[in-house]
């Protein structure tokens, strides 16, 4: 188990370093220099320009800049925004991350609480109207773009009924629309997945054995089916974190939610690339860490993985 953990951590570290290099290189390809953005329409002499370049380190080769940037990152310093002059990137991200976390954790638990029972019930009552109905809903659910659900939600609950605010994060009411829009797609995807996983377990010999032993169906389901079906579900939930974080960008932008997604999109539009590269890196690290945790959890629950 220990060598497995070390191996996964080592691979994860390589991936994070690779991601940081790739992110940095993409930012180097940005047309126009950051100095132009900084000085805007002011007139500056060549000497002043050189001085600015030197102060921010833009006159050094890219790998040199990369190591400075990466070195600062390790100590938690993400530098300052060039566009929003002087504002430290790390404090911007910290505030936004908290809002994104609230939104996503809420919608995450709601989607699990709704999707897993639906998926399991659909598998147990296979070919019933409940199975067909819920799976039809789930199949359609994954095809609807989440930002369109967001728009329709605003039209219905904010414009027509006037129950919920269409914008911002001022009261608990502001949470309802974004949380459910984010949960919608997850519910559909997870319910389909749970049904598949449960059905596979239902077909296993040990379930037949348990039934043949004369165990009550309730015991068979709760003790043999449920536990084993949760394994693949946990894995996929972990790997879906990348999708969830991507979904946040559009949904937060539509609802004007002051989180990472909107900060990211604003920064793209304002060409604030210090913030963009910091956010991409932070999100990637979150994805890598969650993936490693998922693998470890899986190995912990299922001894077969460890032995391999």
């Amino acid at each position: 188990m220990l060598s497995y953990i070390i191996n996964r951590l080592f691979q994860g570290a390589i991936v994070v370093v690779l991601v940081s290099i790739l992110t940095f290189l993409v930012m180097q390809a940005v047309p126009g220099s950051p100095v132009d953005l900084m000085i805007g329409k002011q007139k500056v002499s060549i000497e002043q320009r050189k001085a600015i370049e030197h102060k921010w380190g833009f006159d050094r080769p890219w790998y040199d800049q990369y190591f400075t940037w990466a070195g600062n990152l390790v100590t938690g310093n993400m530098g300052e925004s060039v566009v929003r002059t002087g504002e430290p990137v790390s404090s911007m991200i910290k505030n936004a991350a908290l809002m994104t976390l609230r939104l996503n954790v809420l919608s995450f638990f709601i989607s699990i609480a709704i999707a897993i029972p639906i998926g399991m019930l659909a598998a147990i009552k296979r070919y019933s109207w409940f199975d067909y109905g819920s799976m039809l809903g789930a199949t359609i659910g994954v095809t609807i773009p989440n930002y369109w659900i967001a728009l329709m939600g605003i039209v219905l609950f904010s414009v027509k009924l006037g129950w919920l605010p269409p914008y911002g994060a001022d009261s608990w009411k502001s949470y309802i629309l974004p949380v459910f829009v984010l949960a919608f797609e997850e519910i559909a995807a997870l319910a389909r997945l749970t049904r598949g996983a449960t059905m596979e377990v239902l077909g296993q010999d040990y379930v037949t054995t348990a039934r043949a032993k004369g165990l009550k169906e309730k015991v068979v389901i709760s003790r043999h089916v449920l536990r084993n079906a949760l394994l693949p579900i946990i894995t996929v939930i972990g790997y879906r974190i990348a999708f969830i974080l991507s979904g946040t960008i559009v949904v937060e932008t539509v609802f004007g939610w002051p989180g990472m997604g909107r900060l990211f999109f604003d920064s793209i539009n304002r060409l604030d690339y210090q913030v963009v590269q910091a956010i991409v890196l932070v999100l990637s690290i979150v994805i890598v860490v969650v993936n490693i945790l998922t693998d470890l959890t899986y190995a912990l629950i299922d001894p077969r993985v460890r032995i391999r």
């Binding site: 994070v16 728009l151 991507s246 932008t253």
Partner: protein
């Protein structure tokens, strides 16, 4: 079908001349492949939703090709006095914020959706299959380096990566296809690598090597064709996702540039006038959902047809 047959004939031609036995074997292989294809088709047809999806996609392709004939109005024509008009008998789905006919723009929008959906997937499959086959076939440090690259690509939050790349290279239809294609190939590389790892141990690969075939020929002729089944399934299931990605990019203003009719960009227009003209935002969303549904159903059908073990 005819292209396949000619391709197969060209392939068996030289072998037949040198060793007749190998020639008959190869022809037998072709016959088997053909009956296999029929079997796949029969299994696919059994899944009715998949057939429905396929018919719908064919209709969409027809719409995209014949857009100028089908569209009732010019999709670019601006009518300032018809701004945000509700659906009428003349304009069946109403008019957008600058009075353009929504139905005509919707019909032209199939072009962007299909070009990006199929184009980006084709790029992703090409890169993914190549990288995966090389990693799996050569193994060792080549595999290690390529696999970490695949891991790194998969660790990026996809939409953030796409938005960044689009902003860097400039938003346009061509760039949307390239940027999406170059960002989503990792999963293809992963499954092809896994397939190749088992395929390279087969005797026929050894036989090919003994016959003096180059690595390149072994990969292209003997390994990749046998690893394509899961790739086809994944690709058909992924096209829908790509269409949603493109629409999200265009929705955020970093995909296809206006005035080109794209469903995502139409939704952006709808969002801006959500209060005054809510009808603008309805139709494009439904178009996206139904199109994605059609591709997903075909993907489900192909998965069942190509992999008899899965009974979802």
């Amino acid at each position: 079908m005819s292209i396949d047959t000619t391709g197969a004939i060209r392939e068996t031609g030289p072998t037949e001349k040198s060793t007749p036995a190998a020639g008959t074997l190869a022809t037998q292989g072709v016959r088997e492949a053909r009956s296999n294809r029929n079997q796949v088709w029969r299994r696919f047809v059994r899944y009715k939703p998949g057939v429905f999806g396929l018919v719908f996609i064919l209709l969409l392709i027809g719409c995209a090709l014949a857009a100028p004939l089908i569209a009732p109005h010019d999709p670019f024509e601006i009518h300032m006095r018809l701004r945000g008009h509700a659906p009428s008998s003349e304009y069946l789905l109403g008019n957008d914020s600058i009075g353009r006919d929504i139905l005509s723009r919707l019909i032209y929008g199939t072009r962007v959706a299909l070009i990006v959906g199929i184009g980006a997937t084709a790029i992703a499959v090409t890169i993914g299959v190549t990288v995966g086959a090389i990693a799996g076939y050569f193994g060792g440090w080549v595999d290690f380096v390529l696999s970490r690259l695949v891991d790194a690509l998969m660790a990026f939050p996809l939409l953030a990566l796409l938005l960044t790349l689009s902003a860097v290279f400039g938003p346009s239809l061509r760039n949307a296809v390239i940027v999406i294609g170059c960002s989503i190939w990792a999963s293809y590389a992963r499954i092809v690598r896994a397939e190749v790892l088992s395929l390279r141990e087969f005797d026929y690969v050894l036989a090919a090597r003994a016959a003096g075939a180059s690595d390149r020929r072994i990969i292209a002729r003997h390994i990749v064709p046998n690893a394509l089944g899961p790739v086809i399934v994944l690709a058909s299931l992924a096209i829908g996702g790509v269409i949603i990605l493109e629409s999200a990019l265009s929705f955020l203003g970093l995909g296809v540039r206006p005035p080109t009719p794209s469903w995502g960009a139409m939704l952006a227009d709808g969002r801006e006038f959500l209060r005054r003209y809510p009808h603008i935002a309805i139709a494009p969303g439904i178009a996206i959902a139904v199109t994605v549904l059609a591709f997903n159903l075909v993907g489900d059908g192909l998965r069942d047809a190509l992999d008899p073990r899965v009974t979802d």
